[in-house]
């Protein structure tokens, strides 16, 4: 057992983020199958934080518990007392507010909701108002809780929606729930937001040069965040053995190898969970589930 896992023993809550550098490696497959399987025996909530392209919900048919519009705050110009001093424009680092002639224009999609223009305005002419950025939905899938958010098309920033979705989950689900996050792909701000609160990271990769290259970036990102992690290989059997070699050198546990099968891809294409249909897949899922139980027990 690695020292990083030992550190976890002292923690109480358990949040596991399922991430990957490269998109399309099987993050959602792992998240949905693992969450559903674990929920047969304990309290689990799965949270889809890939708000730009959320897919977990496509694989889980449950009953709708809640649907909620999600808002971010943007400044709204009230002309009455405005002296057109231009302070708002000068303090905005995102070019989201501009003085044009006798008017103050706000560009909501560029606004980061920092409140600087609003609170530094000498005449309080820019109160912050809510603007819809997406939709949160909550389902119950038999025993499994599921929360997912979807960013509205044209909204460019995923981070505020990810942050608010996590706040919602923390408010609605007590600490005795195992929380699984389906994180967005990549290594930049949305991934950081989705993982910085997690206790442990499962990195899903495929044993190919693209998979390895992007996994290395994800490993570096998680090290930067000081997160303990383990790797899950999907489509095992295709490609080469470089991912295994890398994990061995870096001392990262590989906790499951999901087999490469056309039949699995076909089930996925239909929006079905895999483990009820493919014993070889289920055998590997059990390993991942055992690893989770082990982590939680140590908590």
């Amino acid at each position: 057992m690695t020292t990083s896992i030992v550190c976890l023993i002292e923690r109480l809550k358990m949040k596991i983020a399922i991430a990957s550098g490269k998109g399309g490696t099987g993050k959602t497959t792992v998240a949905t199958n693992l969450a559903k399987y674990l929920s047969e025996n304990r309290k689990v909530v799965l949270v889809d934080l890939d708000v730009e392209e959320p897919n977990s919900g496509l694989f889980l048919n449950g009953s709708l518990m809640n649907q909620k519009e999600m808002f971010k705050k943007i400044p709204n110009w009230e002309s009455e007392n405005c002296t057109l001093c231009g302070k708002c424009q000068s303090v905005c680092n995102f070019n989201a507010i501009m003085k044009l002639g006798e008017n103050i224009m706000v560009f909501p999609e560029l606004c980061h909701s920092c409140y600087a223009c609003s609170e530094l305005c000498p005449t309080q002419s820019l109160p912050m108002i809510p603007m819809k950025m997406g939709m949160l939905t909550e389902y119950k899938v038999e025993q499994l809780g599921f929360v997912g958010s979807k960013l509205d098309i044209g909204q460019e920033q995923a981070v505020p929606l990810i942050a608010q979705t996590l706040d919602y989950v923390d408010e609605m689900y007590s600490d005795d729930y195992l929380k699984l996050y389906d994180a967005p792909p990549g290594t930049s701000c949305p991934v950081i937001e989705a993982t910085k609160d997690a206790d442990f990271i499962f990195l899903v990769t495929e044993p190919t040069p693209f998979g390895l290259h992007d996994m290395k970036l994800a490993v570096e990102t998680m090290r930067e965040l000081k997160k303990p992690m383990a790797v899950i290989i999907n489509r095992y059997g295709i490609g080469d053995a470089e991912v295994e070699a890398y994990c061995k050198v870096e001392g990262i546990d590989i906790i499951a190898n999901f087999p490469n099968q056309r039949y699995i891809a076909e089930l996925y294409s239909q929006g079905k969970l895999i483990y009820p249909h493919v014993p070889e897949f289920k055998a590997e899922l059990l390993k991942a589930a055992d690893y989770c139980k082990h982590l939680v027990k140590e908590n």
């Binding site: 550098g21 998109g23 399309g24 392209e53 098309i153 990549g186 290594t187 930049s188 693209f210």
Partner: protein, 292 residues
């Protein structure tokens, strides 16, 4: 000069493998731009040799001068991003949380906070094995991918194509629908969607198409792994027809994409593969579409 942007919404549909194949087929007529700066993989297939590199700075982050700080805590109070921590007894900024808004700098009564420009990565110009120039980038770990590095890559690619009189810019776009994709799309003449017939493939295609529609860019679509699910494939074809997206080609579910990748090759380098002929035909069709 025509700019073609290849995107997919969902990851793992074969976008980069196909973009690199087009780069091989276009050879000297094109400049290649890898705008998937978060997970740039095209260099693994095109083996670029760097001819130029440059640091890229974008955005700012707050730094507190401890000698000037009077510990009033105003900065922490107004920060909406929880980026200022004083658990160590000093007010310190977490770079990972700092959004670079600069509000703290304006509110600090003693001028102890300075906004420092951030080095977010590197931008490269290289020559590929297909004898074309490629502009690509490496984003620093955890850096803010605001789309500015993507814009820089595109700008350099355009400048290079203009200077050398190239016919095409072939752009590998980013996944998702957020700022990096919006940045990838700006100025494009044509968008190629690469999708797969899965519930998530069609879902993500529909979303990213809505975005492309906002920009009013004409588009075409390649259905990769088309035989994986014929029902969803038909649904995608219907979606394409309903939205006047040109159906460029169907490619089969075939592991030779991965075999080629493992050898550091694009699929079109295997002249015996039937897929090579399909992609070559697709590239010819694309060129004709772009001339219209």
């Amino acid at each position: 000069m025509k700019e073609i942007v290849i995107i997919s919404g969902k990851g793992g549909t074969g976008k980069t493998s196909l973009t690199a194949s087009f780069a091989m087929l276009a050879g000297q007529t094109a400049v290649i731009a890898d705008c998937d700066v978060d997970a740039a993989d095209m260099h693994l297939l095109l083996k670029p040799e760097r001819i130029f590199e440059e640091d890229f700075y974008s955005g700012v982050a707050a730094v507190i001068d401890q000698d000037k700080c009077i510990q009033c805590g105003k900065c922490q109070e107004i920060c909406r991003f929880n980026a200022i921590d004083n658990s160590t007894g000093q007010y310190l900024v977490s770079n990972l949380n700092c959004e670079g808004c600069g509000y703290c700098g304006h509110i600090c009564p003693v001028g102890a906070i300075e906004m420092i420009e951030q080095n977010v990565g590197k931008c490269y110009i290289s020559k590929t094995k297909a004898d074309n120039k490629m502009v690509h980038a490496g984003l620093k770990i955890g850096a803010d991918n605001s789309g500015k590095l993507v814009a820089k890559v595109k700008h350099e690619a355009k400048a290079s194509a203009e200077k050398d009189g190239k016919e095409y810019i072939i752009v590998d776009g980013s996944p998702g629908i957020g700022c990096p994709v919006v940045s990838s799309l700006s100025g494009a003449d044509f968008v190629v969607f690469v999708t797969e017939p899965t519930v998530s493939g069609i879902h993500d295609l529909e979303r990213v198409y809505q975005l492309v529609k906002k920009f009013q860019i004409p588009s075409g679509c390649i259905i990769n792994k088309a035989d994986l699910n014929e029902k969803v494939s038909k649904d995608i074809e219907k979606f394409l027809a309903d939205n006047e997206i040109i159906h460029l080609t169907n490619l089969p579910y075939d592991e030779s994409f991965t075999t080629a990748m493992t050898k550091g090759q694009t699929i079109v380098e295997d002249k015996t593969s039937p897929i090579t002929a399909s992609i070559e035909q697709c590239w010819q069709d694309l060129k004709i579409i772009l001339e219209k």
